[in-house]
């Protein structure tokens, strides 16, 4: 492997209207090459209509182990969910 080869994450949009979804990663020398490799490797059976590649080193990620401190699920605030509010009989369109 050359010094500059690096890891890219691959995201594919399977059809119009949907988000790009992470499908895997690959090594390439630059972004253009990563795009072509991704086409060759990840879309061999018509899996998608659009590909994004992002250098893995450019991704800043949270850690699952930091869950409690980083994003509190706010389970102590049930009032943020519709189910907490009871409706009178016969009303179901709210």
């Amino acid at each position: 492997m050359s010094d500059q080869i690096q890891l890219y994450e691959v995201f594919i949009r399977s059809s119009r209207g949907l988000d790009h979804k992470h499908v895997g990663s690959l090594h390439a020398d630059d972004a253009q090459q990563a795009l072509e490799y991704a086409r060759d490797v990840y879309t061999r059976r018509g899996e998608g209509i659009s590909i994004w590649v992002v250098a893995s080193k450019d991704i800043t990620a949270s850690q699952e182990s930091d869950c409690d401190s980083f994003y509190d699920p706010l389970d102590d605030k049930p009032y943020r969910h519709a189910a907490m509010y009871e409706l009178p009989e016969g009303i179901d369109s709210l």
Binding site: R16, Y79, E89, I91
Partner: protein, 318 residues
Amino acid sequence: MRDSIPLVSNEQKFQSRIDAEQKVEPKDWMPEKYRQNLIRQISQHAHSEVIGEQPEGKWITRAPTLERKAILMAKVQDEAGHGLYLYASAETLGVTRDELIDRLHTGASKYASIFNYPSLTWADIGAIGWLVDSAAIVNQVSLQNTSYGPYARAMVKICKEESFHQRQGYNIMMTLMQGAELQREMAQDALNRWWWPSLMMFGPHDAESAHSAQSMKWKIKRRSNDELRQQFVDQAVQQAHAIGLAVPDPDLVWNEQREHYDFGAIDWEEFQRVVSGNGPCNRQRLAHHVSAHKEGAWVREAMAAYEAKRRTVPAEVA
């Protein structure tokens, strides 16, 4: 021969994609008017989320209980987030956040007129959540199928989060209606003031709507103003009656044949007056946004300065 092949223009290809119910994505070719039409609609929607924080935010410090205060705070926070989703969606069309905010401040871009009415009593917080959010949801559910991908996806996320907003509002009204006479009067008074502006939220009648025909053809809009308004009336009237509220419309009557409520004429002069800047709170709403934006400038500057400094100092080895 090359000459005999009929030329399919970009415009025709675009329309046939729309007709086939395919979404348009940011990097696709699109007619300039489609782009401008979307920027207008999405930014107006985003501004509405943000300006809508004002009439409700005013009551956070005056909520009758700690629980009501926490609920209202959570709701207003949601609205700020919805504004963000929508601004981000508009930005995929090649317009910047600064431009969008500037257009709001100069009046070139509008927001939902209903937020130009004042929230005078606690019951107004009930009426806003119940009526204004219900009306918004009726519209937004139909926009989940809008033709522009990023807008449609933002709508899905917003609708999911919005479900509690209308219920908390209705719950406030229901609680007041179970209270003392003064409380019931307060709830009725709020409904009386918010009912007609809520119907106006759906915009002019189909025949008079400036942007409707083209927006329907491009499937930016999926259902007409009048269809959406009718759905809202049918739901809201039932909800009002269920808790003992009277809808302030002497012409309101169930139409057996149509299986819908018939309702009275909307005062379009009032609508025009408020849209064109002369509602009860237009100047106040805009002035507040302008001053909040100005007063927040130092935060944006400090963040930029911090980032610039961080870039010049070599990264520490962890």
